[in-house]
Protein backbone atom coordinates (compact mmCIF):
# COMPACT_ATOMS: atom_id res chain seq x y z
CA UNK A 1 0.00 0.00 0.00
CA UNK A 2 1.25 3.45 -0.84
CA UNK A 3 1.42 5.48 2.34
CA UNK A 4 0.38 9.09 2.28
CA UNK A 5 -0.40 8.88 -1.36
CA UNK A 6 -0.53 12.24 -3.10
CA UNK A 7 -3.57 12.50 -5.26
CA UNK A 8 -3.17 14.59 -8.35
CA UNK A 9 -6.41 14.25 -10.23
CA UNK A 10 -10.02 13.34 -9.47
CA UNK A 11 -12.20 12.74 -12.51
CA UNK A 12 -15.96 13.08 -12.60
CA UNK A 13 -17.85 11.63 -15.57
CA UNK A 14 -20.13 14.27 -17.09
CA UNK A 15 -23.49 12.49 -17.24
CA UNK A 16 -25.55 15.36 -18.66
CA UNK A 17 -28.36 13.42 -20.34
CA UNK A 18 -30.91 14.48 -17.71
CA UNK A 19 -29.05 17.59 -16.60
CA UNK A 20 -32.03 19.40 -15.14
CA UNK A 21 -33.62 16.41 -13.44
CA UNK A 22 -30.53 14.58 -12.26
CA UNK A 23 -27.81 16.66 -10.67
CA UNK A 24 -25.54 13.80 -9.74
CA UNK A 25 -22.59 15.05 -11.82
CA UNK A 26 -22.74 18.40 -10.01
CA UNK A 27 -23.02 16.63 -6.67
CA UNK A 28 -19.89 14.62 -7.49
CA UNK A 29 -17.99 17.72 -8.57
CA UNK A 30 -18.88 19.23 -5.21
CA UNK A 31 -17.66 16.21 -3.23
CA UNK A 32 -14.65 16.01 -5.56
CA UNK A 33 -13.73 19.59 -4.63
CA UNK A 34 -13.90 18.70 -0.91
CA UNK A 35 -11.78 15.59 -1.36
CA UNK A 36 -9.33 17.53 -3.52
CA UNK A 37 -8.89 20.17 -0.84
CA UNK A 38 -7.62 17.47 1.52
CA UNK A 39 -4.98 16.32 -0.92
CA UNK A 40 -4.18 19.19 -3.24
CA UNK A 41 -5.66 17.40 -6.24
CA UNK A 42 -7.49 19.00 -9.16
CA UNK A 43 -11.03 18.11 -10.11
CA UNK A 44 -11.61 17.30 -13.73
CA UNK A 45 -14.90 16.66 -15.52
CA UNK A 46 -14.88 14.38 -18.57
CA UNK A 47 -17.49 15.13 -21.22
CA UNK A 48 -18.27 13.12 -24.36
CA UNK A 49 -20.96 14.27 -26.77
CA UNK A 50 -21.86 16.74 -29.48
CA UNK A 51 -22.42 20.46 -28.95
CA UNK A 52 -21.72 20.14 -25.26
CA UNK A 53 -20.32 23.64 -24.56
CA UNK A 54 -23.28 24.36 -22.30
CA UNK A 55 -22.44 21.43 -20.00
CA UNK A 56 -18.74 22.26 -20.03
CA UNK A 57 -19.61 25.76 -18.79
CA UNK A 58 -21.96 24.39 -16.15
CA UNK A 59 -19.35 21.97 -14.80
CA UNK A 60 -16.79 24.75 -14.43
CA UNK A 61 -19.40 26.98 -12.76
CA UNK A 62 -20.08 24.14 -10.31
CA UNK A 63 -16.51 23.43 -9.30
CA UNK A 64 -14.49 21.68 -12.05
CA UNK A 65 -10.91 22.96 -12.39
CA UNK A 66 -10.52 21.32 -15.75
CA UNK A 67 -12.80 19.74 -18.34
CA UNK A 68 -11.68 17.15 -20.85
CA UNK A 69 -14.01 17.29 -23.84
CA UNK A 70 -14.45 15.15 -26.88
CA UNK A 71 -17.09 16.85 -29.02
CA UNK A 72 -18.07 15.05 -32.21
CA UNK A 73 -21.32 14.35 -34.13
CA UNK A 74 -20.60 10.61 -33.72
CA UNK A 75 -21.08 11.06 -29.97
CA UNK A 76 -24.42 12.82 -30.21
CA UNK A 77 -26.11 9.99 -28.35
CA UNK A 78 -24.73 7.99 -25.43
CA UNK A 79 -22.97 4.91 -26.83
CA UNK A 80 -21.76 2.39 -24.30
CA UNK A 81 -18.89 0.69 -26.12
CA UNK A 82 -17.61 3.91 -27.67
CA UNK A 83 -17.75 5.80 -24.37
CA UNK A 84 -15.92 2.92 -22.63
CA UNK A 85 -13.23 2.90 -25.32
CA UNK A 86 -12.77 6.67 -25.08
CA UNK A 87 -12.62 6.67 -21.29
CA UNK A 88 -10.15 3.79 -21.14
CA UNK A 89 -7.89 5.53 -23.64
CA UNK A 90 -7.99 8.76 -21.62
CA UNK A 91 -7.24 6.91 -18.38
CA UNK A 92 -4.28 5.13 -19.96
CA UNK A 93 -2.94 8.43 -21.29
CA UNK A 94 -3.50 10.59 -18.22
CA UNK A 95 -3.54 8.25 -15.17
CA UNK A 96 -6.18 9.83 -12.93
CA UNK A 97 -6.18 8.65 -9.31
CA UNK A 98 -9.92 8.60 -8.78
CA UNK A 99 -12.93 8.33 -11.10
CA UNK A 100 -16.40 9.15 -9.80
CA UNK A 101 -19.46 8.20 -11.82
CA UNK A 102 -23.10 8.87 -10.96
CA UNK A 103 -25.12 5.73 -10.25
CA UNK A 104 -27.56 6.35 -13.09
CA UNK A 105 -28.58 3.39 -15.25
CA UNK A 106 -25.93 4.44 -17.74
CA UNK A 107 -23.27 4.98 -15.08
CA UNK A 108 -23.89 1.63 -13.47
CA UNK A 109 -23.28 -0.16 -16.77
CA UNK A 110 -20.45 2.14 -17.87
CA UNK A 111 -18.34 2.05 -14.68
CA UNK A 112 -17.97 -1.74 -14.31
CA UNK A 113 -16.89 -2.07 -17.92
CA UNK A 114 -14.18 0.54 -17.44
CA UNK A 115 -13.07 -1.04 -14.16
CA UNK A 116 -12.83 -4.42 -15.88
CA UNK A 117 -10.66 -3.04 -18.68
CA UNK A 118 -8.42 -1.29 -16.18
CA UNK A 119 -8.41 -4.36 -13.88
CA UNK A 120 -9.21 -2.13 -10.94
CA UNK A 121 -11.74 -2.06 -8.10
CA UNK A 122 -15.17 -0.48 -8.20
CA UNK A 123 -17.74 -0.02 -5.49
CA UNK A 124 -21.41 0.35 -6.36
CA UNK A 125 -23.99 2.95 -5.47
CA UNK A 126 -21.97 4.59 -2.70
CA UNK A 127 -23.60 6.77 -0.06
CA UNK A 128 -20.34 8.19 1.30
CA UNK A 129 -16.83 9.03 0.08
CA UNK A 130 -13.82 10.18 2.05
CA UNK A 131 -10.03 10.19 1.96
CA UNK A 132 -8.24 8.37 4.80
CA UNK A 133 -4.90 9.21 6.43
CA UNK A 134 -3.08 7.18 3.78
CA UNK A 135 -4.61 9.25 1.02
CA UNK A 136 -6.84 6.36 -0.08
CA UNK A 137 -10.50 6.90 -0.96
CA UNK A 138 -12.89 5.20 1.46
CA UNK A 139 -16.12 4.26 -0.31
CA UNK A 140 -19.21 3.58 1.81
CA UNK A 141 -21.82 1.37 0.19
CA UNK A 142 -24.85 -0.53 1.49
CA UNK A 143 -24.22 -4.24 1.35
CA UNK A 144 -25.18 -7.76 2.32
CA UNK A 145 -28.90 -7.89 1.94
CA UNK A 146 -29.10 -4.19 2.59
CA UNK A 147 -28.74 -4.46 6.33
CA UNK A 148 -25.25 -3.05 6.76
CA UNK A 149 -22.92 -0.46 5.32
CA UNK A 150 -19.47 -1.49 4.12
CA UNK A 151 -16.38 0.71 3.85
CA UNK A 152 -14.47 -0.34 0.79
CA UNK A 153 -11.06 0.68 -0.51
CA UNK A 154 -8.99 -0.13 -3.57
CA UNK A 155 -5.55 -0.02 -1.95
CA UNK A 156 -3.27 -0.85 -4.86
CA UNK A 157 -4.93 -0.71 -8.25
CA UNK A 158 -5.56 2.60 -10.01
CA UNK A 159 -7.73 4.39 -10.70
CA UNK A 160 -9.92 4.05 -7.62
CA UNK A 161 -13.47 3.94 -8.92
CA UNK A 162 -16.93 4.33 -7.45
CA UNK A 163 -20.47 4.91 -8.61
CA UNK A 164 -22.39 7.23 -6.29
CA UNK A 165 -26.09 7.36 -5.66
CA UNK A 166 -27.79 10.54 -6.90
CA UNK A 167 -28.74 12.81 -4.02
CA UNK A 168 -25.88 11.74 -1.75
CA UNK A 169 -24.01 15.06 -1.88
CA UNK A 170 -25.05 18.70 -2.19
CA UNK A 171 -24.02 20.52 -5.34
CA UNK A 172 -22.04 23.77 -5.02
CA UNK A 173 -24.20 26.73 -6.17
CA UNK A 174 -23.14 27.82 -9.66
CA UNK A 175 -20.71 30.66 -10.06
CA UNK A 176 -20.38 31.76 -13.68
CA UNK A 177 -17.38 33.93 -12.76
CA UNK A 178 -15.35 30.79 -12.09
CA UNK A 179 -12.82 29.89 -14.71
CA UNK A 180 -11.41 26.52 -15.61
CA UNK A 181 -9.22 24.93 -18.21
CA UNK A 182 -11.05 23.35 -21.15
CA UNK A 183 -9.05 20.67 -22.94
CA UNK A 184 -10.59 19.78 -26.30
CA UNK A 185 -9.52 16.40 -27.60
CA UNK A 186 -10.03 14.86 -31.03
CA UNK A 187 -12.15 11.76 -31.52
CA UNK A 188 -9.58 9.01 -32.14
CA UNK A 189 -9.90 7.51 -35.63
CA UNK A 190 -9.06 3.98 -34.52
CA UNK A 191 -12.26 3.43 -32.53
CA UNK A 192 -13.95 0.07 -33.07
CA UNK A 193 -17.49 0.31 -34.43
CA UNK A 194 -20.30 0.20 -31.84
CA UNK A 195 -21.77 -3.31 -31.96
CA UNK A 196 -25.05 -2.41 -30.28
CA UNK A 197 -27.25 -0.22 -32.50
CA UNK A 198 -29.62 2.31 -31.01
CA UNK A 199 -32.85 1.97 -33.00
CA UNK A 200 -34.98 4.39 -31.05
CA UNK A 201 -34.77 6.49 -27.93
CA UNK A 202 -37.69 8.45 -26.56
CA UNK A 203 -38.24 10.26 -23.34
CA UNK A 204 -40.41 7.99 -21.31
CA UNK A 205 -44.04 9.04 -21.34
CA UNK A 206 -44.06 8.63 -17.62
CA UNK A 207 -43.41 11.98 -16.05
CA UNK A 208 -39.78 12.13 -15.03
CA UNK A 209 -40.10 12.40 -11.31
CA UNK A 210 -38.00 14.90 -9.50
CA UNK A 211 -38.42 13.04 -6.32
CA UNK A 212 -34.89 13.91 -5.16
CA UNK A 213 -35.95 17.55 -4.94
CA UNK A 214 -39.52 17.05 -3.68
CA UNK A 215 -40.61 18.81 -0.47
CA UNK A 216 -43.07 16.07 0.39
CA UNK A 217 -42.65 12.40 -0.41
CA UNK A 218 -45.07 9.56 0.19
CA UNK A 219 -43.22 6.26 0.32
CA UNK A 220 -44.89 2.87 0.33
CA UNK A 221 -43.69 -0.61 1.18
CA UNK A 222 -45.04 -4.12 1.12
CA UNK A 223 -47.14 -3.31 4.19
CA UNK A 224 -49.61 -1.49 1.93
CA UNK A 225 -50.99 -4.95 1.21
CA UNK A 226 -51.66 -5.12 -2.52
CA UNK A 227 -51.10 -3.35 -5.82
CA UNK A 228 -54.64 -1.97 -5.66
CA UNK A 229 -54.18 -0.60 -2.17
CA UNK A 230 -50.76 0.76 -3.08
CA UNK A 231 -52.39 2.88 -5.78
CA UNK A 232 -54.22 4.82 -3.07
CA UNK A 233 -50.90 6.43 -2.26
CA UNK A 234 -51.16 8.22 -5.60
CA UNK A 235 -54.38 9.87 -4.50
CA UNK A 236 -52.84 10.90 -1.20
CA UNK A 237 -49.72 12.19 -2.95
CA UNK A 238 -51.81 14.26 -5.38
CA UNK A 239 -53.63 15.94 -2.47
CA UNK A 240 -50.29 16.93 -0.95
CA UNK A 241 -48.36 17.83 -4.14
CA UNK A 242 -46.07 14.99 -3.15
CA UNK A 243 -43.98 12.53 -5.13
CA UNK A 244 -44.34 8.78 -4.66
CA UNK A 245 -41.49 6.52 -3.69
CA UNK A 246 -41.33 2.79 -3.14
CA UNK A 247 -39.14 0.07 -1.65
CA UNK A 248 -37.45 -2.79 -3.47
CA UNK A 249 -40.10 -5.47 -2.66
CA UNK A 250 -42.78 -3.19 -4.11
CA UNK A 251 -40.77 -2.79 -7.31
CA UNK A 252 -40.26 -6.57 -7.46
CA UNK A 253 -44.00 -7.07 -7.05
CA UNK A 254 -44.58 -4.62 -9.91
CA UNK A 255 -46.89 -2.37 -7.90
CA UNK A 256 -45.13 0.66 -9.40
CA UNK A 257 -42.42 1.26 -12.00
CA UNK A 258 -38.79 1.02 -10.93
CA UNK A 259 -38.22 4.77 -11.37
CA UNK A 260 -39.94 5.17 -7.99
CA UNK A 261 -37.32 3.15 -6.11
CA UNK A 262 -35.93 4.91 -3.06
CA UNK A 263 -32.75 3.32 -1.83
CA UNK A 264 -30.03 1.17 -3.23
CA UNK A 265 -29.96 1.18 -7.03
CA UNK A 266 -32.57 3.94 -6.81
CA UNK A 267 -32.72 7.43 -5.44
CA UNK A 268 -31.86 9.37 -2.31
CA UNK A 269 -34.37 11.91 -1.06
CA UNK A 270 -34.37 14.82 1.38
CA UNK A 271 -37.95 16.06 1.73
CA UNK A 272 -39.21 18.40 4.44
CA UNK A 273 -41.86 15.83 5.30
CA UNK A 274 -41.70 12.13 4.50
CA UNK A 275 -44.70 9.84 4.93
CA UNK A 276 -43.63 6.23 5.15
CA UNK A 277 -46.37 3.60 4.79
CA UNK A 278 -45.83 -0.06 5.56
CA UNK A 279 -42.05 0.05 5.30
CA UNK A 280 -39.99 -2.04 7.71
CA UNK A 281 -36.77 -0.16 7.01
CA UNK A 282 -33.91 -2.20 5.53
CA UNK A 283 -30.80 -0.04 5.33
CA UNK A 284 -30.91 -0.09 1.54
CA UNK A 285 -33.93 2.13 2.02
CA UNK A 286 -33.16 4.00 5.24
CA UNK A 287 -29.71 5.14 4.07
CA UNK A 288 -31.53 6.93 1.26
CA UNK A 289 -33.95 8.86 3.47
CA UNK A 290 -31.71 9.87 6.35
CA UNK A 291 -31.75 13.50 5.23
CA UNK A 292 -35.53 13.80 5.45
CA UNK A 293 -36.35 16.58 7.94
CA UNK A 294 -39.50 15.14 9.45
CA UNK A 295 -40.59 11.54 9.13
CA UNK A 296 -44.04 10.13 9.81
CA UNK A 297 -43.97 6.35 9.66
CA UNK A 298 -46.94 4.00 9.74
CA UNK A 299 -46.36 0.36 10.53
CA UNK A 300 -48.17 -2.38 12.41
CA UNK A 301 -44.89 -3.37 14.00
CA UNK A 302 -43.70 -0.75 16.51
CA UNK A 303 -40.24 -2.36 16.53
CA UNK A 304 -39.62 -1.97 12.79
CA UNK A 305 -36.34 -0.06 12.17
CA UNK A 306 -38.30 2.48 10.12
CA UNK A 307 -40.32 3.38 13.23
CA UNK A 308 -37.14 3.98 15.24
CA UNK A 309 -35.94 6.64 12.81
CA UNK A 310 -39.32 8.36 12.51
CA UNK A 311 -40.33 11.53 14.35
CA UNK A 312 -43.90 10.28 14.52
CA UNK A 313 -44.36 6.51 14.70
CA UNK A 314 -47.95 5.50 14.04
CA UNK A 315 -48.68 1.93 15.10
CA UNK A 316 -51.48 0.97 12.75
CA UNK A 317 -52.38 -0.58 9.42
CA UNK A 318 -50.71 1.47 6.67
CA UNK A 319 -53.56 1.12 4.25
CA UNK A 320 -56.19 2.22 6.77
CA UNK A 321 -54.18 5.28 7.78
CA UNK A 322 -53.66 6.18 4.11
CA UNK A 323 -57.40 6.01 3.51
CA UNK A 324 -58.13 8.07 6.63
CA UNK A 325 -55.60 10.71 5.59
CA UNK A 326 -57.19 11.08 2.15
CA UNK A 327 -60.60 11.53 3.74
CA UNK A 328 -59.36 13.99 6.35
CA UNK A 329 -57.33 16.06 3.89
CA UNK A 330 -60.28 16.36 1.53
CA UNK A 331 -62.34 17.66 4.44
CA UNK A 332 -59.70 20.12 5.63
CA UNK A 333 -58.35 21.51 2.37
CA UNK A 334 -60.67 24.08 0.91
Amino acid sequence: MTMNEQLTEIWVFGDYRNYFQNRVTLQLLSRGVELAQKTGATVCAVVFGHEVDEWVGEYIAHGADRVLVIDHPELKQYKMETYVNLMVQLIEDLNPDIILIGATNFGREFAPRIAKRMQTGLSADCVGLDINEDGIMVQTAPSFGGNVLAEIITPECRPQMATIRPGTFQEIPHNYERTGEVVKLELPDNLPEERVKLVQSERSTQRFQRIEEAKVVVCGGRGMGSKKKFRKLAELAALMNAEIGATRPVIYANWIESEALIGQAGKNIKPKVLFSFGISGAIQHTAAIKNAEFIIAVNKNPKAPMMAMADIAIVADANQVCTAMIKELKRRIR
Binding site: N22, M80, T104, N105, R108, E109, P112, A115, K116, T120, G121, L122, A124, V138, P142, S143, F144, N147, V148, L149, A150, E151, I152, I153, T154, R195, V196, K197, L198, V199, Q200, S201, E202, S204, T205, K215, L239, M240, N241, N254, S258, A265, P271, V273, F294, M307, A308, M309, I312, I314, A316, D317, V321, T323, M325, K327, E328, R332, I333, R334
Partner: protein
Protein backbone atom coordinates in the same frame (compact mmCIF):
# COMPACT_ATOMS: atom_id res chain seq x y z
CA UNK B 1 -31.63 -7.85 11.90
CA UNK B 2 -27.88 -7.70 11.44
CA UNK B 3 -27.25 -10.44 13.95
CA UNK B 4 -29.21 -12.80 11.79
CA UNK B 5 -27.10 -12.08 8.77
CA UNK B 6 -24.31 -14.52 8.13
CA UNK B 7 -21.55 -12.03 7.55
CA UNK B 8 -18.16 -12.48 9.05
CA UNK B 9 -17.21 -9.36 11.01
CA UNK B 10 -13.51 -10.25 10.74
CA UNK B 11 -13.31 -10.40 6.98
CA UNK B 12 -16.39 -8.33 6.27
CA UNK B 13 -17.52 -10.80 3.65
CA UNK B 14 -20.75 -12.73 3.49
CA UNK B 15 -20.71 -16.31 4.72
CA UNK B 16 -22.47 -17.49 1.65
CA UNK B 17 -22.41 -21.07 2.85
CA UNK B 18 -25.08 -20.13 5.36
CA UNK B 19 -27.37 -18.27 3.03
CA UNK B 20 -30.14 -20.49 1.78
CA UNK B 21 -29.88 -21.51 -1.82
CA UNK B 22 -32.72 -19.76 -3.55
CA UNK B 23 -32.44 -18.26 -7.02
CA UNK B 24 -31.88 -14.55 -6.93
CA UNK B 25 -35.08 -12.77 -8.12
CA UNK B 26 -33.56 -10.99 -11.14
CA UNK B 27 -31.80 -14.22 -12.22
CA UNK B 28 -35.14 -15.99 -12.12
CA UNK B 29 -36.49 -13.41 -14.57
CA UNK B 30 -33.42 -13.93 -16.77
CA UNK B 31 -34.07 -17.67 -16.81
CA UNK B 32 -37.71 -17.08 -17.68
CA UNK B 33 -36.62 -14.86 -20.60
CA UNK B 34 -34.34 -17.69 -21.78
CA UNK B 35 -37.17 -20.23 -21.51
CA UNK B 36 -39.48 -18.00 -23.56
CA UNK B 37 -36.77 -17.65 -26.24
CA UNK B 38 -36.30 -21.41 -26.26
CA UNK B 39 -40.01 -21.90 -27.02
CA UNK B 40 -39.58 -20.26 -30.41
CA UNK B 41 -35.94 -20.98 -31.10
CA UNK B 42 -34.99 -24.51 -30.02
CA UNK B 43 -31.76 -24.41 -28.09
CA UNK B 44 -30.09 -25.72 -24.97
CA UNK B 45 -30.13 -23.71 -21.76
CA UNK B 46 -27.20 -24.11 -19.41
CA UNK B 47 -27.45 -22.54 -15.96
CA UNK B 48 -24.18 -21.60 -14.29
CA UNK B 49 -23.71 -20.53 -10.71
CA UNK B 50 -20.75 -20.10 -8.43
CA UNK B 51 -20.75 -20.75 -4.72
CA UNK B 52 -20.50 -23.38 -1.99
CA UNK B 53 -21.80 -26.92 -2.65
CA UNK B 54 -25.25 -25.96 -1.33
CA UNK B 55 -25.63 -23.62 -4.33
CA UNK B 56 -26.53 -26.80 -6.23
CA UNK B 57 -30.07 -26.19 -4.91
CA UNK B 58 -30.22 -23.11 -7.12
CA UNK B 59 -29.37 -25.23 -10.15
CA UNK B 60 -32.02 -27.82 -9.27
CA UNK B 61 -34.59 -25.08 -9.00
CA UNK B 62 -33.49 -23.77 -12.41
CA UNK B 63 -33.71 -27.25 -13.94
CA UNK B 64 -37.17 -27.63 -12.48
CA UNK B 65 -38.16 -24.41 -14.22
CA UNK B 66 -36.98 -25.89 -17.52
CA UNK B 67 -33.23 -25.38 -17.94
CA UNK B 68 -31.40 -28.30 -19.57
CA UNK B 69 -28.24 -28.59 -17.52
CA UNK B 70 -26.53 -26.97 -14.59
CA UNK B 71 -22.92 -26.14 -13.84
CA UNK B 72 -21.71 -25.34 -10.36
CA UNK B 73 -18.37 -23.62 -9.91
CA UNK B 74 -17.34 -24.51 -6.41
CA UNK B 75 -13.89 -24.15 -4.94
CA UNK B 76 -12.68 -23.11 -1.52
CA UNK B 77 -10.34 -20.67 -3.31
CA UNK B 78 -13.31 -18.67 -4.59
CA UNK B 79 -13.96 -17.10 -1.19
CA UNK B 80 -13.63 -13.35 -0.98
CA UNK B 81 -14.07 -12.70 -4.70
CA UNK B 82 -15.24 -9.18 -5.53
CA UNK B 83 -17.07 -8.38 -8.75
CA UNK B 84 -13.91 -8.21 -10.87
CA UNK B 85 -12.77 -11.64 -9.68
CA UNK B 86 -16.28 -13.11 -9.90
CA UNK B 87 -16.72 -11.94 -13.47
CA UNK B 88 -13.37 -13.48 -14.43
CA UNK B 89 -14.32 -16.83 -12.92
CA UNK B 90 -17.80 -16.87 -14.48
CA UNK B 91 -16.52 -15.79 -17.89
CA UNK B 92 -13.91 -18.56 -17.84
CA UNK B 93 -16.60 -21.02 -16.80
CA UNK B 94 -18.71 -19.94 -19.78
CA UNK B 95 -15.73 -20.33 -22.12
CA UNK B 96 -15.10 -23.83 -20.75
CA UNK B 97 -18.64 -25.15 -20.49
CA UNK B 98 -20.33 -23.31 -23.38
CA UNK B 99 -17.63 -22.23 -25.85
CA UNK B 100 -20.21 -21.82 -28.63
CA UNK B 101 -22.83 -19.90 -26.67
CA UNK B 102 -25.29 -17.66 -28.48
CA UNK B 103 -26.55 -15.57 -25.62
CA UNK B 104 -25.67 -15.10 -21.96
CA UNK B 105 -28.51 -13.85 -19.75
CA UNK B 106 -27.81 -12.57 -16.24
CA UNK B 107 -30.06 -11.09 -13.60
CA UNK B 108 -29.39 -7.35 -13.57
CA UNK B 109 -28.31 -7.52 -9.95
CA UNK B 110 -28.30 -9.77 -6.90
CA UNK B 111 -30.57 -8.98 -4.02
CA UNK B 112 -27.76 -9.30 -1.49
CA UNK B 113 -25.26 -6.74 -2.69
CA UNK B 114 -26.97 -5.18 -5.71
CA UNK B 115 -23.74 -4.05 -7.33
CA UNK B 116 -25.08 -4.92 -10.81
CA UNK B 117 -21.44 -5.04 -11.90
CA UNK B 118 -20.83 -8.69 -12.68
CA UNK B 119 -22.93 -8.85 -15.88
CA UNK B 120 -21.28 -5.87 -17.61
CA UNK B 121 -17.87 -7.15 -16.48
CA UNK B 122 -18.51 -10.63 -17.95
CA UNK B 123 -19.43 -8.82 -21.19
CA UNK B 124 -15.99 -7.22 -21.23
CA UNK B 125 -14.20 -10.45 -20.31
CA UNK B 126 -15.98 -12.36 -23.11
CA UNK B 127 -15.50 -9.43 -25.49
CA UNK B 128 -19.02 -9.64 -26.86
CA UNK B 129 -21.66 -6.92 -27.25
CA UNK B 130 -23.73 -6.45 -24.12
CA UNK B 131 -26.75 -4.56 -22.82
CA UNK B 132 -27.74 -4.11 -19.18
CA UNK B 133 -31.17 -3.60 -17.59
CA UNK B 134 -33.16 -5.27 -20.38
CA UNK B 135 -36.94 -5.33 -19.94
CA UNK B 136 -38.11 -7.00 -23.18
CA UNK B 137 -36.38 -9.03 -25.85
CA UNK B 138 -37.15 -10.54 -29.22
CA UNK B 139 -34.89 -12.61 -31.45
CA UNK B 140 -34.81 -12.17 -35.24
CA UNK B 141 -32.15 -13.89 -37.34
CA UNK B 142 -29.35 -13.84 -34.78
CA UNK B 143 -30.07 -10.27 -33.85
CA UNK B 144 -31.66 -9.49 -30.52
CA UNK B 145 -34.00 -6.52 -30.35
CA UNK B 146 -34.36 -5.29 -26.82
CA UNK B 147 -36.30 -2.63 -24.99
CA UNK B 148 -35.36 -1.01 -21.76
CA UNK B 149 -36.09 2.00 -19.66
CA UNK B 150 -32.82 3.81 -19.03
CA UNK B 151 -32.59 7.05 -17.06
CA UNK B 152 -36.05 8.18 -18.19
CA UNK B 153 -35.64 7.11 -21.84
CA UNK B 154 -37.39 4.19 -23.49
CA UNK B 155 -34.67 2.69 -25.66
CA UNK B 156 -34.90 0.14 -28.46
CA UNK B 157 -31.57 -1.48 -29.27
CA UNK B 158 -30.36 -4.17 -31.69
CA UNK B 159 -27.56 -6.47 -30.67
CA UNK B 160 -25.94 -9.19 -32.82
CA UNK B 161 -25.31 -12.61 -31.27
CA UNK B 162 -23.31 -13.89 -29.53
CA UNK B 163 -23.87 -11.35 -26.78
CA UNK B 164 -24.81 -10.80 -23.17
CA UNK B 165 -27.77 -9.10 -21.54
CA UNK B 166 -28.73 -8.45 -17.95
CA UNK B 167 -32.45 -8.72 -17.26
CA UNK B 168 -34.64 -6.66 -14.92
CA UNK B 169 -37.60 -7.85 -12.89
CA UNK B 170 -40.05 -5.65 -14.81
CA UNK B 171 -41.01 -8.29 -17.41
CA UNK B 172 -40.70 -12.06 -17.84
CA UNK B 173 -42.50 -13.01 -14.64
CA UNK B 174 -41.10 -16.42 -13.69
CA UNK B 175 -43.29 -19.49 -14.19
CA UNK B 176 -44.39 -21.71 -11.35
CA UNK B 177 -42.46 -24.89 -10.95
CA UNK B 178 -44.53 -28.03 -11.39
CA UNK B 179 -44.21 -30.77 -8.84
CA UNK B 180 -43.13 -33.29 -11.46
CA UNK B 181 -40.52 -30.87 -12.71
CA UNK B 182 -39.19 -30.51 -9.22
CA UNK B 183 -39.05 -34.29 -8.73
CA UNK B 184 -37.20 -34.75 -12.02
CA UNK B 185 -34.77 -32.03 -11.07
CA UNK B 186 -33.88 -33.92 -7.94
CA UNK B 187 -33.81 -37.44 -9.38
CA UNK B 188 -32.17 -37.15 -12.78
CA UNK B 189 -30.64 -33.71 -12.81
CA UNK B 190 -27.78 -33.03 -15.20
CA UNK B 191 -25.47 -31.10 -12.90
CA UNK B 192 -21.71 -30.83 -13.27
CA UNK B 193 -19.49 -29.49 -10.55
CA UNK B 194 -16.29 -27.75 -11.65
CA UNK B 195 -13.46 -26.25 -9.64
CA UNK B 196 -11.03 -23.49 -10.66
CA UNK B 197 -8.61 -26.04 -12.22
CA UNK B 198 -11.38 -27.33 -14.46
CA UNK B 199 -11.94 -23.88 -15.93
CA UNK B 200 -8.24 -23.17 -16.39
CA UNK B 201 -7.72 -20.90 -13.38
CA UNK B 202 -5.04 -22.99 -11.75
CA UNK B 203 -2.60 -20.29 -10.76
CA UNK B 204 -3.28 -20.79 -7.06
CA UNK B 205 -4.69 -17.31 -6.65
CA UNK B 206 -7.68 -17.07 -4.33
CA UNK B 207 -10.79 -15.03 -4.98
CA UNK B 208 -9.47 -12.51 -2.55
CA UNK B 209 -6.06 -12.36 -4.36
CA UNK B 210 -7.88 -11.58 -7.57
CA UNK B 211 -9.93 -8.80 -6.01
CA UNK B 212 -8.64 -5.23 -6.12
CA UNK B 213 -11.14 -4.09 -3.47
CA UNK B 214 -10.81 -4.58 0.26
CA UNK B 215 -13.51 -4.20 2.87
CA UNK B 216 -12.26 -2.11 5.78
CA UNK B 217 -15.24 -2.61 8.00
CA UNK B 218 -18.90 -3.43 7.98
CA UNK B 219 -21.27 -1.75 10.36
CA UNK B 220 -24.90 -1.25 11.06
CA UNK B 221 -25.77 2.41 11.38
CA UNK B 222 -28.13 2.99 14.25
CA UNK B 223 -30.61 5.81 13.99
CA UNK B 224 -32.95 6.17 16.90
CA UNK B 225 -34.96 9.27 17.43
CA UNK B 226 -36.76 10.39 20.51
CA UNK B 227 -40.07 9.97 18.77
CA UNK B 228 -43.76 10.30 19.40
CA UNK B 229 -45.71 7.08 19.16
CA UNK B 230 -49.36 7.21 18.14
CA UNK B 231 -51.82 4.36 18.51
CA UNK B 232 -55.54 3.89 18.11
CA UNK B 233 -58.03 3.96 15.28
CA UNK B 234 -56.79 5.26 11.95
CA UNK B 235 -59.34 8.08 11.87
CA UNK B 236 -58.47 9.36 15.34
CA UNK B 237 -54.72 9.17 14.75
CA UNK B 238 -55.00 11.15 11.54
CA UNK B 239 -57.11 13.85 13.24
CA UNK B 240 -54.56 14.11 16.01
CA UNK B 241 -51.64 14.17 13.57
CA UNK B 242 -53.10 16.98 11.47
CA UNK B 243 -54.16 18.97 14.56
CA UNK B 244 -50.75 18.72 16.17
CA UNK B 245 -48.62 19.26 13.06
CA UNK B 246 -50.89 21.38 10.86
CA UNK B 247 -48.20 24.04 10.46
CA UNK B 248 -45.42 21.65 9.60
CA UNK B 249 -47.41 19.49 7.19
CA UNK B 250 -49.48 22.38 5.80
CA UNK B 251 -46.31 24.40 5.22
CA UNK B 252 -44.61 21.58 3.34
CA UNK B 253 -47.58 20.77 1.12
CA UNK B 254 -48.42 24.44 0.58
CA UNK B 255 -52.03 24.10 1.72
CA UNK B 256 -53.96 25.18 4.76
CA UNK B 257 -54.98 22.10 6.70
CA UNK B 258 -55.94 23.82 9.94
CA UNK B 259 -59.24 22.73 11.42
CA UNK B 260 -61.61 25.58 10.68
CA UNK B 261 -64.40 26.34 13.09
CA UNK B 262 -67.64 26.16 11.23
Amino acid sequence: MVSELPWDPKTGTLKRALVDGMINPACRHALEAALILKNEHPTEITVITMGPPIAEEVLREALAMGADRGILISDSKIAGADTLATSKILADAIKTACPDFDLVLCGCHTSDSETAQVGPQITEELNVPGIAYVDQLELNNRSLRIQRLSDGFTETLDMPLPGLITVTTQQNAPRYISLSGLEDAFSEADITCLDLNDIGLNSGLTGSDRSPTRILRVYSPVTEKDNTVMRGSAGKIVQQLFDQFDDKIGGAIGKDIKEHQS
